[in-house]
Every structure is written in C-alpha cells, then in structure tokens.
C-alpha cells in the first residue's frame, strides 16, 4: 500500500490532537477542571466526546476484521457495544451523576463508606483499563505496520507518547474537546471511503456473495502466509503451493488437500483459483491459542458463546472506567440521561459502517483470513477496490481515522487509570502526581503490548468487557437500587465475579484447556456464568452481613435518586 499520503494523514491527526488538547490546556486551571471539566459540559458536546472516546480500535478496525473472518455472528459486537449504553441509561446514568463522585472508586466509597471496597474497585479499574489499553496500542502498531512496514511496536509507542503528553498536560477539559473532535473525524474517516467503496461495488455489478457462507475467492489470488498456521478444511481444497505444507516442501505444485487440519509454515505462498471457498485459519497454529474466537471456526462456535458475548457487551459498558468518568462531567442527572440518548444515536450511526467494510472485505480481500491480518481489512480495502490516487487518498483518510480511534480511547482510559493511581496509590494528590500517574498508567500496557503482541483487537476488548460486566455491573446496579448492599457483600461479589472472569480469561489466553469443546467455551466466554455469580455473591454475602449496612444508606440513596431541583431547593 502506498504510504505517501497515509503517513501525512496520521501525522496530521496526531498534530491536530495535540493542538486541540493545547487549546483545552489554556482553560484548564483547577483540579476540578482537570478531572471533570468543572462539570459544565453540555449534553451535545459531552455526547460527541463520550462517543469519540468509546469508539476504539476494536470498533474502527476490529469489527470489520472479525466479520471478515467469522461472518455476521460477529455483528453482535457492535450491537452489544451500543446496547450497553441503553442498559447504562436504564440503571446507572442519572443516579451515577447525582452521586457526585469523581470515579468508580469514589462511587464505591460514597455508597458504602468503606476504604477497602474503594481500593478493590480501584484495583479493578486499573486492571480493566490496562486490559483495554493493550489492544489500542497493538492496533496502532498494526496500522503503522500495514501502512509503512514500520516495526510492530512503533505505532504503539507513538500513541503512548501523544496520549501521555495530552493527558498529563491538559486533563479532562482538553480531553473533552479532543474526544468530541475525534468522534466526527472517525465518522468521516469511515463514512466517506464507505460511500466510494459502495459505488465501486455497484460498478462491479453489486455481487452479493459476501452474505453467503463461506466466503469465496472471486479471482485468482495468491496469499503469503506470514506466521505459521493450521488450516482446518471441512472439504478437500485444491491449491497451488510454494513453500511448506504439512512438513513437505513444494514448488508450484498443484495440491489436493484432503479434509482435515493442515499445517502451513511461515513464508508459504498459496494460490487459489476463482470460486474456491476461503478456508479458515483455525486451531493451534503459531499464536492462535491467544484468540478464543478465532480458534473456533464458524460451525464450532456454540450458541453459548454468542450469548456470552451478548451478556458481556450489554452489561460491561457501564463498568468501563473511561465511560463512567464521563458521566461526572454532565451538569446534572437529567443532562446525563439526555447525553446517553445522544450517545446511543451517535454510536449507532457509526456502527452502521463497520459491517459494510466487513462484507466488502469478504468479497474483495478474503485472503486476510489466512494471513492473520484481518484487522487491517478496513485499511486495505480502498486501495484494493478503487486503487490509484483516489484509493490512496481514501486509504489515508481511513488511516487518520484509525489513529484518531487509538488516540481517543487510549487518552480516556489513561485519564481514568491515572486518576485512580493518583488518588489511591501514589502518596500525595495534586496535579504533579497526576502527571506521574499518567506516565505509570501508560507504561504498563505499553510494555505488555511490546512483550505479548498477537491478541486480535476485538477479542482483547471483549475480555475487558467480560471482567467489567462481572465486577462493576453488580456493584453499580445493586449499589444504586438495593438498600441492603453491604461493604463485605460488594467486595466479595467483585472479587468472585470479576476475579473468576479474569482467571478464566487468563487461562484461555494461556491456551488452557486446549482443544475446544464445552470447557473451552466456558472459559473463553466467561460472562454467562461469571456475571450471575458476581450478582449472586454480592446479594448472598450482603444478606449474610445485615449488621454491616452503612448507616447513611438512606440518605445516600435519596441523593442518588432525587431530582436536582428538589435538592437545590433544599440547599439554598
């Protein structure tokens, strides 16, 4: 792909982010400005900022990649990302704003008057935040590699530097402007190329094979396998091979591979004839143990996994640290609700686009399934389908949008994690320590992304959602609606629910238990059992410790739920 336009586009996005951030810096004066923009952000600006922050690399690149590889089942991701806001609106938005706390740990402390629960919530915020930052940095690395052939780690380092600088310098107010700007940038960067791609598709006779199973090659296509992989065939496949298949070297041999699993070594080139169904890279290849969903080919993907995905994304959104912190910037509870509705509209509109790229990717770049670079589909399609100067320019636009996605989500997450680190871990508070916290918040996932690598972007994000859904969702929902919640109950629920989800996810990522089947699905998609487990533990332990209900509970719940006009009257 021609990078002569893409690199300037990425540079422009980075510079614009820094400039818009600097504009915010001039008005960011007090600690309140720093953390929550002094609570003066109106619904429209705030909704664009929330959406800008929320639409991450997983949305921008990952969904199209997953749809390309695994088909329409993966569209549950964007549906879940959107519906998560509906649940947040229903159960959390207004009371959370009225709670008047700054962060999730603040909420835990305000509700339960317990330092221990506060610290535990802080630990989960940092954990979920780091888990979510990792794919952002990896996505940035992938984008830059696809565009310029730069080494994997470079993109992540650039994003880390820019984000640390903007967050440490300006805090939330500047971030609000940056995020709102980036929502519109991201929407444009997907919408404009999508329109041209659809025109190109129509000019091509509007082939509709993308919607059928499985995807097939439309023309003669040669694929170079970058990492060794296992090819799982349900039907025999005819292919021309340059390289090593099943341990035997071939040089331009036409092979009929029987059904079953075949091992393709790195560097092998496979040539497919038109009409050949695209085989799925599956099973334990080089690093496929890392990817729970890619490891299950379509037929094996149980219904259970789909429901697990739905539960995790629907309930996980409300507990994401960078989402929750945004609600404190609304001036009051009613504005928080209206903001959420606007967010639903904005991200819903955005999510109409990734499926278009996924479907076109299945038509025009099906070989990405094999190379393990499916996340790059969005970046490659303009060049592939339109080509020439137009394709380069559109590709540059998409690349710029992708970088906006990494920057915005990463800065929101860094903000949230740094806030917790500053308030609860570092010894003194204040702006200087906040800057130190920012550095720390970004350093850990950056190190992890350089060391680990290879986790598909949308998958890693799905894991963060599962942990959030099993720890923070019970805390928020029960904390807001249930009087009898006690500090031991909340702590136990978060530990059992969130902890088991985290363990299950870690086990899956470590490739245990291999093979597949029911135990594998249970561990790879923990939300279906870990969320009820978290709720149940929280309720049972709370009921078992009735003497520990905090004395101020009634007053706190009144503050959560009473409309502000009653409250202002009471305070005047």
């Amino acid at each position: 792909m021609n990078s002569s336009f893409a690199v300037p586009a990425v540079a422009l996005v980075v510079v614009a982010t820094v400039l818009v951030g600097a504009f915010g810096l001039r008005v960011s004066r007090t600690t309140s400005d720093f953390y929550v923009a002094s609570r003066t952000v109106g619904p429209r600006l705030n909704a664009a900022a929330i959406s800008g922050e929320y639409l991450s690399a997983a949305s921008f690149l990952g969904i199209a990649g997953l749809v390309l590889v695994q088909g329409p089942d993966m569209l549950w991701y964007p549906v879940g990302y959107t519906a998560g806001y509906l649940l947040l609106l229903l159960f959390v938005a207004a009371p959370l704003r009225r709670s008047g706390a700054y962060t999730l740990p603040d909420f835990a402390e305000a509700r339960l008057a317990s330092q221990a629960v506060r610290r535990l919530a802080g630990a989960f915020v940092v954990g979920v935040g780091w888990l979510y930052l990792l794919p952002q940095l990896q996505g940035a690395g992938l984008t830059l590699t696809v565009l310029t052939g730069a080494p994997d780690w470079l993109g992540g380092v650039i994003v880390a530097l820019v984000v640390t600088a903007t967050v440490a310098a300006g805090g939330m107010r500047s971030i609000t402007f940056v995020q709102a700007f980036q929502y519109w940038l991201k929407l444009t960067a997907l919408l404009v190329p999508a329109l041209f791609l659809i025109l190109a598709w129509q000019a091509d006779g509007a082939p509709a094979r993308a919607f059928e199973e499985p995807a097939a090659f439309r023309e003669h296509r040669t694929v170079r396998v970058q990492d060794a992989l296992a090819l799982k065939l349900e039907r025999p496949l005819t292919v021309t091979v340059h390289g090593t298949v099943d341990g035997r070297p071939h040089h331009g041999t036409r092979l009929l591979l029987p059904a079953g699993t075949h091992r393709i070594d790195a560097g092998t080139r496979l040539s497919f004839a038109p009409g050949t169904p695209v085989p799925a890279a599956a099973g334990p290849g080089a690093d496929d143990a890392l990817s729970p969903s890619r490891a299950e080919s379509r037929t094996e993907r149980p219904l259970y996994a789909t429901y697990g995905l739905i539960l995790a994304t629907f309930l996980g959104t409300m507990g994401l640290p960078h989402v929750v912190v945004r609600f404190y910037t609304s001036p009051h509870g009613v504005a928080a609700r209206r903001t959420t509705v606007a967010v639903l509209g904005l991200i819903g509109a955005f999510y109409l686009l990734p499926p278009v790229y996924g479907a076109l990717g299945r038509l025009y770049a099906p070989e990405l399934t094999l190379t393990g670079d499916a996340d790059a589909a969005v970046l490659l399609l303009p060049d592939r389908m339109i080509g020439g100067l137009g394709g380069d320019l559109l590709g540059a636009l998409v690349a710029g949008g992708a970088f906006a996605a990494f920057l915005s989500t990463a800065s929101g997450l860094t903000m949230a994690v740094a806030g917790v680190l500053t308030q609860d871990v570092l010894p003194a508070r204040g702006v200087r320590h906040f800057r130190l916290g920012t550095l720390l918040a970004m350093a850990v996932p950056l190190a992890a992304s350089v060391l680990v690598g290879g986790l598909p972007v949308a998958d890693a994000v799905g894991l963060a959602f599962a942990v959030s859904a099993s720890s923070f969702c019970p805390l928020l929902v029960l904390g807001i609606w249930w009087r009898r919640l006690t500090p031991p109950g909340a702590a136990a629920g978060m530990l059992v629910g969130g902890g088991s989800a985290l363990l299950a996810v870690t086990a899956t990522m470590a490739g245990f238990p291999g093979g597949g089947g029911a135990p594998h699905a249970l561990l790879a998609w923990p939300a279906l059992w870990s969320v009820p487990l978290g709720f149940l533990t929280m309720v049972l332990v709370s009921l078992a410790t009735p003497g520990r209900v905090p004395p101020g509970t009634a007053a706190v719940l009144a503050r959560f739920h009473l409309p502000e006009d009653l409250r202002t009257e009471a305070t005047v």
Partner: protein
C-alpha cells in the same frame, strides 16, 4: 505553559474526599421537608420514586430482552437466512435501541416531575 509569575499556575490538590463526605452527611441537606429530615415518611417518598424509576427501567429492559434474546436462537435455527442476519444485526437493531432509550428518558423525567409536584404540594 505561561512563565510569568503572576500568571503561574498554583498548586491545587485533589478533592478532600473525607471532608466532602462528612459535609454531605451533616449539613448538605437543610431540613425543609420530610425527605431532608430523613423521617420515615421522607423515606417512603424516596422509595416510591425509586420504585417508579426502577419499574420504568425494568419495562424497557424486558422489551430489550424479548427483542434481542431470541435472535441468536432464530439465526441458529435458520442457517439459510444469512441475509436476514446481516440486515438485522448490521442495520435494523439500532433504531429500536434509540427509540427505547428515548421512551425511557421521557418516562423517567415524567416520574421525576410528578414526584417534585407531589412533594411540593404537600
């Protein structure tokens, strides 16, 4: 960053959480109504508001579950209907989500207005 001493940024610290809380607990609500005095009657009022808000939330939640819950089963039962799956998940579900949200916000705001009227008429 400005270097003029008059323009220099002063060191500010994080919000004193403890002070904030005790302030809230002790004097944040001036005793004017039953609610602020936290009498049993006041609690009953707050409970009634919470119940009506929770009812609105659960209603929308039930609609969402009924709308979304059967879809994976449906798609699994109709393996031939790939186009339907693309259309529903890629396009058709978003508008109902926004409509549900708008309906809930209207209902929740009405609950709050009714509550304010009830409390102030007393």
């Amino acid at each position: 960053m400005p270097h003029d001493p008059a323009d220099r940024r002063v060191t500010v610290t994080g919000p004193p959480r403890r002070a904030l809380r005790s302030h809230r607990a002790s004097g944040y609500y001036r005793p004017r109504t039953e609610i602020d005095e936290q009498t049993t009657l006041g609690h009953t009022y707050v409970r009634s508001l919470m119940r009506s808000q929770l009812r609105a939330a659960l209603t929308v939640f039930a609609v969402l579950v009924l709308l979304v819950g059967p879809l994976p089963l449906l798609f699994a039962a109709l393996p031939g209907a790939r186009r339907l799956e693309w259309a529903v998940l890629g396009f058709a579900l978003y508008a109902p989500l926004v409509l549900l949200a708008r309906w809930y916000v209207r209902r929740a705001e009405r609950n709050e207005r009714d509550f304010v009227r009830l409390v102030e008429d007393r």
